[in-house]
């Protein structure tokens, strides 16, 4: 069938066309409205977000870290300063091929496994755009030269210089000053990230830790306009950093060095305090470590070696080491007894060489007791009990006083409490009491415990710092001064130097005790059993008046009826040697506590060290004063 001839219907075509154009125009209109709505949504509704994002894009805030404050000794000698150091840093976005870059880098610089691992994890990190992250620390000149010569191979890597902490005195003041460490992930959670922008280190120990806020200073910054490739276009705003403040310590490096020399290779601690101010003149703990090792991050291996060493070099014996005070506690017990009216100078007791509690068979021996019962000090009064260090007198005195008075009285000298102003790691020690024993040991207080406490044995524990503080209180005739590292004049927020611990004892009570301590050192040529315990070792040729007291703290219990024989037991189980002293007796300038771990007898081992330090401090370190005195210019 033939297709019918279709005539073009122009009118219909035109009508259809107009309909279609109208529909099309409507669609175009709607699409354009959609565009307007979209643009309007972005520009009006999301305006604020977009503005902040665009600002974030273009403005990079570059921190200008402050220079950490210096730490100086009493005479202005540098204990901690800052030295220039160069790090290798990387910008993750600019490294295209991490394994390849790493391979090339290892060909140029030697890298440990830890460093390789750090490089990998940092290179793959998406942190803030174009932030430079440190990978290798403290490059040597040779390393810098080698890297720079091959610089073209390492887009995204560069060497940057900065100041890092330096301890010129090294080991000598490690435990006194503390140290800074690289900020780790745990620290990062605790600190305000803004304050530490551009700063890689934080004070982790000692003075560095306690005065972190003062030493750190205030961070400044540059607001820099950057383009999309991280190139700096211009500086928009700049705020200068405020450098950290310098701290001057009471510490005398000369004295500290003398202490170090005197102690030699022995393990132990020495703390010296200026009684008037509480300022710590020396704070030594041996063995020590080089704090510089920690500044740039110590390797795991080296750290583990330090940490697990039997000599515990990281352990700050001076403020954290807790030892039985032994006989060094006796002058304080004597003072408590005088204060409470339980003793007077004249009263004497008969010391047969042992003490027995009524109704108890156990013998508490004196130090000069022998198996043949030939020992004992005979007729003993309080002063003799101190200069001869008679145990039986103090057994008896302690039992008569009772634990409650004893415990309360001893606390006035700072025992059993952290009194140090700015030594955050100081240990509390242990001053036993009835309550303490009930709560901790779940046992009642036995009279035997009081007997042991009478000679500084049993549960009581003190740190060398506490001992020195207590001696300083003696030197001050009862006025308690909190020990401190930093000279308060350097600090605005200096807290009050004096802290009264209970009712101070009457000043008159101190003189007989101090006199007895003087006899410990100076009473000589009186015949067998009548000289001061330290006289033979230090008292023969002394140029000034010194008050001291020796002590010996047992490390292991000695069985009933056995005699302590140093040659029979291993070195680590030998007794600790103590000696505490202050001088001059009138207007004291220095109080000192010396502890030698497993050192043996206090008078024999520790007293000469104390003498050496006092000699240095009173005679050598003041050459001007001495010279003037010698020339008759000073009385």
């Amino acid at each position: 069938m033939a297709e019918p001839l279709a005539l073009k219907d122009h009118h219909l075509e035109s009508q259809i066309y107009i309909e279609r154009v109208a529909a099309g125009a409507l669609v175009v209109g709607l699409l354009f409205l959609a565009l307007l709505a979209r643009i309007g949504y972005l520009q009006i509704y999301e305006y604020r977000d977009a503005v902040s994002q665009s600002e974030e894009n273009r403005i990079q805030v570059v921190a200008r870290p402050p220079v950490r404050g210096l730490i100086l000794d009493a005479k202005g000698l540098l204990l901690a300063d800052n030295r220039p150091s160069r790090d290798l840093r990387l910008i993750p976005e600019q490294i295209n091929d991490v394994p390849d870059t790493l391979q090339k880098l290892q060909a140029v610089l030697e890298m440990s496994l830890e460093e390789v691992e750090r490089f990998r994890s940092l290179a793959e990190r998406q942190y803030r755009r174009f932030e430079a992250l440190p990978v290798l620390f403290d490059l040597s000149d040779a390393q810098v030269a080698q890297f720079e010569a091959n610089r073209y191979q390492f887009p995204g890597l560069f060497v940057s210089g900065k100041l890092v902490r330096n301890y010129p005195q090294g080991e000598l003041v490690a435990h006194a000053v503390g140290s800074v460490r690289r900020i780790n992930d745990q620290d990062a959670k605790l600190i305000n990230a803004t304050d530490y922008a551009g700063t890689d280190h934080i004070g982790k120990l000692g003075v560095e830790r306690f005065y972190e806020g003062t030493l750190l200073g205030q961070v400044g910054y540059d607001q820099i306009e950057v383009n999309a490739r991280g190139r700096q276009m211009q500086t928009l705003e700049s705020v200068k950093p405020v450098n950290g403040r310098d701290l001057q310590l009471y510490l005398d490096v000369g004295l500290q060095a003398a202490a170090d020399r005197a102690l030699g290779d022995r393990r132990g601690a020495i703390v010296a305090i200026e009684p008037k101010s509480g300022g710590i003149l020396a704070l030594l703990s041996r063995p020590a470590y080089d704090p510089n090792l920690f500044v740039q991050g110590i390797s795991h291996k080296a750290y583990n070696a330090l940490r697990t060493s039997v000599d515990a070099p990281l352990f700050n014996r001076a403020i954290q080491g807790q030892y039985q005070p032994g006989s060094t506690l006796k002058p304080f017990i004597g003072l408590v007894a005088l204060g409470e009216g339980f003793a007077n100078i004249k009263d004497k007791i008969e010391d047969p060489g042992w003490y027995q509690l009524p109704g108890n068979e156990r013998l508490y021996r004196d130090w000069n007791w022998t198996k043949t019962d030939a020992g004992g000090h005979g007729q003993v009064n309080l002063q003799k009990a101190i200069y001869r260090s008679c145990n039986v007198y103090f057994y008896d005195l302690a039992v008569r006083l009772g634990i409650d008075r004893l415990s309360e009285g001893l606390s006035r000298f700072g025992f059993g409490a952290v009194t140090a102003l700015d030594l955050p790691e100081a240990s509390v020690g242990l001053l036993p009491s009835r309550d303490w024993k009930q709560q901790v040991k779940r046992l009642p207080w036995y009279p035997g415990d009081t007997v042991n406490l009478g000679i500084g044995h049993g549960d009581v524990l003190v740190t060398p710092l506490q001992m020195a503080t207590a001696v300083a209180t003696l030197a001050n005739r009862g006025k308690f001064v909190r020990p401190r590292m930093v000279q308060s004049s350097a600090l605005e927020q200096a807290p009050s130097p004096t802290q009264a611990l209970g009712e101070p004892l009457s000043q008159a009570l101190f003189e007989p005790i101090i006199e007895a301590m003087e006899m410990v050192v100076h009473r000589g040529n009186q015949g067998f059993g009548e000289n001061g315990t330290a006289w033979a070792y230090i008292g023969r040729d002394i140029e000034y008046r010194m008050a001291g007291k020796s002590g010996t703290a047992q490390v292991v219990e000695i069985e009933q009826g056995e005699v302590y024989d140093a040659s029979l037991i291993s070195e680590r189980q030998r007794k600790h040697a103590w000696f505490v002293a202050f001088a001059p007796v009138v207007a004291p300038e220095i109080a000192i506590a010396v502890l030698i771990e497993n050192g043996g007898g206090g008078s024999e081992q520790a007293a000469p060290i104390a003498r050496e330090l006092l000699d240095y401090y009173l005679l050598e370190s003041k050459p001007l004063a001495t010279a003037m005195t010698a020339a008759g210019l000073m009385p």
Partner: protein, 379 residues
């Protein structure tokens, strides 16, 4: 048209329009011309900023614009019936050139879009085909009974699908799709039934999962990025994230010309070409974008009016498809930059820096003017 009855006023060969003689001499529609001039000037201003105040870029663009205006005026002189006769010839030439890109095309970014006769000319046959396709389809449909039946529809589709296939294989999916859209537009304007269109839509939707595996990896990335730019903020998502930040931070009034930080610190990509509207949005704000859209709207409205006033099927279909295609390009570009369409390489008409697309546009506008000025008298 040859079979149509042509009415002319005695003594005029070009037809009567009753307008200012100057424009009349050059067969130029003054309204269209004025809107065009405003858009182009506005565009130059934006480009000036996008090119960091580089005069060399502006000079180059001015040369191209001048060439564009020249081409437009030239084409405007060609009466529609000549265009009608030329249509099939041009189409065949275009097809041939398109086919020639296979053996002789220059490969750029893994796709052979360019034909290069060294020292002489360097152009994209697909660009030329964008004008030739609506011409040939309008030519074919002009003496068919409309709305088109099955056979004209099939032939019309075939006319479109052959070059579409060639462009698709270059490969250049974006251009191919927009190309197909301009062909479909002709069919739609000719009266293609809505049912057919919906059927086509349904087929496309059904084919979408298959398509997903046929398209290339970077194209899949672009589509995924549209829905979630944050999935790869420094890679595929970078452009669109930065573009949205640039637009948003412009706010109502913008940061001021040459003051856009996103644009001038290189956070925004392709500022002179595909993403130029983001520069406008950042520096002149919502007001700037709305003004540009309004100008485009006016232009489109004028174009559609011309097409409605055209008196034969060829002129109507050609004018209508040129105008709507223009509208589609505007929508696709701004839609892409503002993050409602996937990233396709479509420049913003009349504003983006670039040559061959500009010439295609102006050739189309020339035809619009020719169609309008060679009208017969309205009775």
């Amino acid at each position: 048209m040859s079979r149509d009855f042509i009415r002319q006023l005695p003594g005029t060969s070009e037809g009567y329009s009753g307008r200012t003689p100057v424009f009349n001499w050059f067969n130029v529609d003054p309204l269209l011309f004025c809107i065009l001039a405003v858009i182009v000037s506005f565009g130059l201003l934006i480009l000036y900023s996008a090119a960091d105040a580089s005069t060399s870029v502006i000079q180059a663009q001015c040369v191209r614009l001048a060439a564009g205006f020249g081409l437009m005026l030239l084409v405007a002189q060609v009466p529609p019936y000549v265009l009608l006769r030329l249509a099939p010839v041009l189409y065949l030439i275009g097809l041939l050139l398109l086919a020639l890109t296979y053996p002789f095309g220059t490969e750029v970014n893994g796709s052979r879009r360019w034909l290069r006769i060294p020292g002489l000319i360097n152009f994209q046959p697909s660009e030329a085909m964008k004008v030739f396709l609506p011409m040939v389809m309008a030519w074919y449909l002009s003496d068919r009974h409309l709305p088109p039946g099955t056979k004209p529809l099939t032939v019309g589709m075939a006319l479109m699908l052959v070059p579409f296939g060639l462009i698709l294989m270059q490969p250049d999916l974006g251009t191919a799709l927009l190309f197909a859209a301009s062909g479909l537009l002709v069919l739609l304007l000719a009266g293609l039934s809505w049912r057919f269109l919906m059927g086509l839509g349904a087929i496309l939707v059904a084919a979408a999962p298959v398509m997903w595996f046929l398209i290339r990896e970077y194209q899949r990335q672009r589509i995924l990025t549209l829905f979630d730019p944050e999935r790869d903020p420094l890679g595929a998502g970078w452009n669109i994230i930065q573009s949205k930040i640039a637009i948003g931070s412009g706010g109502l009034g913008g940061k001021g010309l040459l003051n856009g930080t996103q644009s001038h610190l290189d956070f925004l990509p392709e500022t002179q070409t595909d993403f130029i509207v983001a520069v406008l949005a950042e520096e002149l704000g919502f007001i700037g974008v709305a003004s540009l859209l309004m100008l485009y709207g006016l232009f489109i409205f004028r174009g559609l009016l011309i097409s409605v006033q055209a008196q034969d099927t060829f002129g109507r279909l050609l004018a209508g498809s040129i105008t709507f295609t223009f509208a589609v390009y505007v929508f696709v570009n701004i839609g892409m930059v503002s993050g409602i369409l996937p990233v396709v390489g479509v420049p913003l008409p009349l504003v983006s820096f670039g040559g061959s697309s500009l010439l295609t546009l102006f050739a189309g506008f020339g035809m619009l003017m020719s169609i309008h000025s060679h009208r017969r008298i309205n009775i």
